[in-house]
Amino acid sequence: MNRLANPLAPRGLALPEKTRQIKVWVRKAGGLDDDIVVSVTELVCRKDGCPDIETVIGIMRPGEKIETIRVRKAIADVTSHDLPQGE
């Protein structure tokens, strides 16, 4: 049988090298210490009203509310210019 492309295939990781690069940009722009966790997630939401794809960056400072940066692009397309620049 010729199988159809599987739209439900388990999602692989979105470009670990690029994710690491985005974290470097975020850390540099924000002057973040190593104890601050930066999470980078490519979000594909099926809900109506949510963008089809976006990159959500969480800056997790201990004891503080998570700061969120959203870029309405796939991780592969994010550039340093999409991120807030530091002082």
């Binding site: 692989g12 990781l13 670990p16 939401c45 099926r46």
Partner: protein, 334 residues
């Protein structure tokens, strides 16, 4: 890019209503000799009788990645703690997460499917829910959290069974089955279950989807309880057309995902020698070919839905329209 599963640290989520026995089980896992070292994320530091730096307390911080969309909500504290723990990954073999009795299991589970860093380093092994046989029925009547913790479970440890009569125990088990027909139920006294029946189960592995045959104790479920969470199973022996089914299940997940707590299924596609399996947590849906149908194995397609007020009739109608022998393209109109 497929994930290198051998490098992913297994994570067991331990949940259950207040006083059910989670801490008893946790202390057993930490103190018994079973050859595995655990890092433990707890919400009440003082309850665990063992003190070492691989026991981390947490604040159950919810991280809404997408402005309140329930399916894009994860646990920020877990992302942070796992990042920190994985810098010491040579010191342990697996992670245990204990949640409070009131915690919503969905953001915990979703953390392991949504966040890329967490997915790369860990894999959700199973959600284990400890239930108090003596008090569960009362809790289910009054607390939606208690129902949802059962709904999400891969394994239910029905604890304190010595405190109830056999007839009552049967009623409790029937109520659990009505909410979650696919979980493995283990009876225990002081959580004395063999630990190998709880740990390292691979319950979210697509290769093990519906390994526990769904158990609907009474097929038509006597509706004496107005449960917030219920379940149903759809079955057909007719081959399924993947061209109808794949878009249909995506549409159902999109439309009803907020109330669909878990869904699992095995499909027999027309002309396909391999079983196709699907599973979902809310809108997080995945599916893949699994293994060849065995000689003599009945090619039955089955979907099990666990959720809040899901429209069974409408979903069943759409599913049956996905049969290959049905001349219809209306499945998508569910």
């Amino acid at each position: 890019m497929p994930l290198e599963t051998s490098q992913q640290m297994p994570v067991t989520v331990l949940t259950g209503y207040l006083g059910a026995g989670k801490t008893t089980l946790l202390n057993r896992i930490l103190s018994e000799q079973h050859g595995k070292r655990y890092a433990v994320i707890v919400n009440e530091f003082g309850e665990v009788g063992i003190d070492n730096d691989l026991i981390v307390d947490t604040d159950e911080e919810v991280f809404e990645m997408n402005n309140g969309c329930i399916c894009c909500t994860v646990r920020g504290d877990l992302i942070r703690i796992i990042e920190s723990l994985m810098r010491r990954r040579d010191r342990f073999d697996a992670i245990l997460i204990e949640t409070t009795g009131l915690a919503d299991p969905a953001p915990v589970a979703q953390t392991f499917f949504v966040d890329d860093d967490v997915r790369q380093k860990t894999k959700l092994d199973a959600i284990v829910t400890v239930a108090d046989a003596k008090h569960l029925l009362g809790e289910l009547d009054h607390a939606h959290e208690a129902q949802e913790q059962l709904a999400f479970a891969d394994i239910v440890i029905l604890n304190k069974t010595d405190l109830v009569a056999p007839a009552e125990l049967k009623a409790v088990e029937a109520r659990i089955r009505r909410i979650n027909p696919t979980a493995a139920i283990k009876h225990s006294i002081r959580c004395n279950v063999p630990l190998d029946e709880v740990l390292d189960r691979g319950a979210f592995d697509l290769n093990r989807v519906l390994e526990v045959e769904p158990d609907f104790l009474d097929a038509e479920h006597e509706h004496e309880h107005d449960d917030h969470v219920t379940s149903f199973s759809l079955v057909t022996e007719a081959a399924i057309d993947p061209r109808k089914f794949l878009p249909w299940i995506q549409m159902i997940t999109q439309k009803f995902g907020i109330d669909m707590l878990r869904m699992k299924g095995i499909l027999a596609f027309k002309g396909d020698e391999d079983r196709f399996v699907v599973q979902a947590v809310h809108m997080l849906l995945e599916g893949d070919h699994q293994r060849p149908w065995k000689d003599g194995e009945k090619r039955v397609s089955r979907l099990v839905f666990i959720g809040r007020n899901l429209p069974k009739g409408l979903i069943e109608d759409g599913f049956l329209k996905c049969r290959a022998d049905v001349e219809s393209v209306e499945a998508l109109n569910a």
